[in-house]
Amino acid sequence: MTDILKVLQVSKNFVKPIDIASKVVNIFGNFYNQEVVHAVDNVSFNVTSGEVVGVVGESGCGKSTLGRMIAGILPLTSGKLDFHDQHYSGFDEGNYKHNSHIDLKIQMIFQDPFSSLNPRQKIIDIISEAPIHHKLISKKDKKYFVKDILNKVGLGTDAMDRFPHQFSGGQRQRIGIARALAVSPEFIVCDESIAALDVSIQAQVINLFLKLRQDLNLTYLFISHDIGVIQHIADRVVVMYLGQIVETASSDEIFSHPNHPYTKALLQGVPTLDTKKKIYTPIKGEIPSPINPPSGCYFHPRCKFSINKCITDKPSYKEVSPNHFSACHLNS
C-alpha cells in the first residue's frame, strides 16, 4: 500500500484585518496586536491508497479548514502537501498556475446540498462543466457521459434536464457526489457531507459512499462530527482539538482503547441506542477561543487528569502502541 497523500506540518492562520481605528492607533506609534487565529496548527498525517480516514472534533477545531486546504481551495500558511509523492501547494495565492492534474484528482463534497449547487444551472451542466473545461470529454459526448455518472450515483436519467430546486436533500447530495466524480478523482474530501440529511436518507448516502469506494477504488477523507458514522466507515481516525491532532489510530483501536482524555470524553458523550438510563459524565466547560489558546496542552483546562506539567509544557505527539499516536503527558 502506498501513501496517496502526505500532509506535512500544515498550518493555517487567519488574521483579522485591521480596522480604521487601529490603523490610526498605529500611525500614532502605538503597537497594535493583530489577532491571529491558528485554525490548523502543525498537522501531519498520511493517507494510504484506498483508505477512509475520518476526522472528528468539535466545531471550531479546524477540521473543515484542513479539508479545504487538502482539496486545494484554501492556501496554506505553512507546511507541505504531497499527492502521490508529488508536491502540490493546493491553492497558491497570487499564482494561479495550478497543477490541474493533481487538482482534478482531489475533489470535495460539501455539507449543504442546498447552497453548493448553482440554482440556475441544469443538472447536466452542473455535472459536465468541469470535465468539458478540462477537456476530459467533448461537448457532444456530454449527454452520454452525464447519463453514465447519474447511474453511478443512483439517479435516473430524467434528472438531467431539471434544476437543483426540483430535488430533495438526499438527491441533491447525490448530484454533488456526481459532480465530484465527473473528473474521475482518486481522492475525495467529504466535509460533513451527510450532516444536513434526514435520518432515513443518511443511510442511503453512506451506502453510496461505500459502494463507490469499492467500484472506483476511491480514497476518502471523511470529516464529520458524528462519531457513529465515522466509526462505521473510517479505517483510521484523526481526532482534532483546537487546530491540532491529539490522537490518531486505526478505527478498531481508537474505539476500543482511546488514549487521550479528550478522545475518551468525546466517545463517552455520544448518545447511543441504549435504553439503560445513561449517566452522562460531560466534559467540563467549552472549547476555548483559538485566538488565545491555553498554555501547555490546549485541553488542560477541561481535562480531568491534568497535572502541573500540562499547564506549562506542550505534550509531544508519541506512538503509544503500533500506529497509535497520542499527544498527552500522561503517556510519559
Binding site: S200, I201, Q202, K211, I227, L273
Partner: protein
C-alpha cells in the same frame, strides 16, 4: 400518576396557496407528571408543529382543525389569549432549537430573566426575582451567575446560550417544558452536558418534558416513552424499551436498523428506500406504504387506524403482527 398533558385526535392543518398541508393529522398521546417523552421524526413530519400547537403558537395559514389538548384537565384549545399568556412561560414553557434566535440580542440576560418572573408575579420584589434568576442559572451549570447575568447574549457561546434558555424555561418551575431540538445546534460534548442537565432538572423539580428530536439515540437514554412520527401522524408509541428493543412498525424498525452502530463496520447500512414524501402530495392510504417492506393491498387504499397493543403501546399499521414474529 397524574396526567399533565393529554392530546386527543389533534389535527393542525395549513391552508397554503399551494394546497392543504396536514402537518399534524390525528395524533393522540399523554404525558404524566415528571415524565420525559421523546417525540421523534424526520424533518417535515410535524413534530415541531405538535409542540407549537400545544403552546398555542400556530399562525395563519395554519389552524388547529379539530381535536383537544388538555393541560392539567384544562382544555387549552378554546381558552382565551389572556389565559394562554398566563400559562405560557409560567406553567408551560418551550425551549427552541436556536438559542440565538430566542434571546433578545439588545437586552441583558438579567433583564430578560427578571421579565419572565415579573410577567407572572406582579408582587415579587426586584431582589427576590434577581435571587431566583441567579439560583436558576447556577442550577443549569453557569459558573459565577451573578457576573454572567450582566452579560448580553452575544457574549455567551452556543452551549451557554442554550443553558440560559433552559434557565428561562425553568424559572417559574413549569409543569411541562417542550424542548424542540434543544441540542441539535450544539457540539457533541456540549450536547452531553445539556442532556445531562435537563435530565437532572426534571428529576429535581418534577417537571415533565416533551423532547422533540430527529435523533432516536438522544432520547433513548433519557426518555421513558417515545412517540415516532411520520408524515404528520404518530405511527408508533410506547415505552422506550419497547420502541428501541422491540419496535413493531416497519418505519421504526427501519430507523433503528439504519443507525450505524447497529451495523457491522464497513458493511452497507440497512436503508429505508425512497424519500420522505412531500406533505402536499401524500400517498393515498398509509403515507409510508411506498417505502415500506411489508406493504399489503390494504395499505394502498385505506389509512391505518391506531390500535392499542397494551396500555401504553399504540401502533398505526395494518401488517405489523407478521413483523413481530
Amino acid at each position: 400518576m397524574e396526567t399533565i398533558l393529554e392530546i386527543k385526535n389533534l389535527k393542525t392543518h395549513f391552508f397554503t396557496k399551494a394546497g392543504l398541508i396536514k402537518a399534524v393529522d390525528d395524533i393522540s398521546f399523554k404525558i404524566k407528571k415528571g415524565e420525559i417523552v421523546g417525540l421523534v421524526g424526520e424533518s417535515g413530519s410535524g413534530k415541531s408543529i405538535t409542540g407549537f400547537s400545544i403552546i398555542g403558537l400556530i399562525d395563519a395559514p395554519g389552524r388547529i382543525v379539530s381535536g383537544s389538548i388538555n393541560f392539567k384537565n384544562e382544555p387549552l384549545l378554546n381558552s382565551s389569549s389572556n389565559r394562554m399568556q398566563s400559562l405560557r412561560g409560567n406553567r408551560l414553557a418551550m425551549i427552541f432549537q436556536d438559542p440565538m434566535m430566542t434571546l433578545n440580542p439588545v437586552l441583558r440576560i438579567d433583564t430578560q430573566m427578571i421579565e419572565t418572573i415579573k410577567a407572572h408575579d406582579k408582587n415579587i420584589s426586584n431582589q427576590e426575582a434577581f435571587r431566583r434568576c441567579r439560583d436558576t442559572l447556577g442550577l443549569v451549570g453557569i459558573s459565577s451567575p451573578e457576573e454572567r447575568m450582566k452579560a448580553y447574549p452575544h457574549q455567551f457561546s452556543g452551549g451557554m446560550r442554550q443553558r440560559v434558555c433552559i434557565a428561562i424555561a425553568m424559572l417559574n418551575k413549569p409543569d411541562l417544558i417542550i424542548a424542540d431540538e434543544p441540542t441539535t445546534a450544539l457540539d457533541v460534548t456540549i450536547q452531553g452536558q445539556v442532556i445531562y442537565e435537563m435530565q437532572e432538572l426534571c428529576k429535581k423539580t418534577g417537571t415533565a418534558l416533551l423532547w422533540i428530536t430527529h435523533d432516536l439515540a438522544v432520547v433513548a437514554g433519557i426518555a421513558s416513552k417515545i412517540c415516532v412520527m411520520y408524515a404528520g401522524r404518530i405511527v408508533e408509541q410506547g415505552s422506550v424499551d419497547d420502541i428501541i428493543n422491540k419496535p413493531m412498525h416497519p418505519y421504526t424498525i427501519g430507523l433503528i436498523k439504519s443507525v450505524p452502530s447497529q451495523n457491522k463496520r464497513g458493511e452497507p447500512l440497512h436503508q429505508i428506500e425512497g424519500m420522505v414524501p412531500s406533505m402536499l402530495e401524500l400517498p393515498i392510504g398509509c403515507a409510508f406504504h411506498d417505502r415500506c417492506t411489508e406493504t399489503i393491498e390494504n395499505c394502498k387504499i385505506e389509512k391505518p387506524i391506531e390500535t392499542n397493543q397494551s396500555d401504553s403501546r399504540v401502533i398505526r399499521c395494518f401488517n405489523f403482527k407478521d413483523i413481530r414474529k
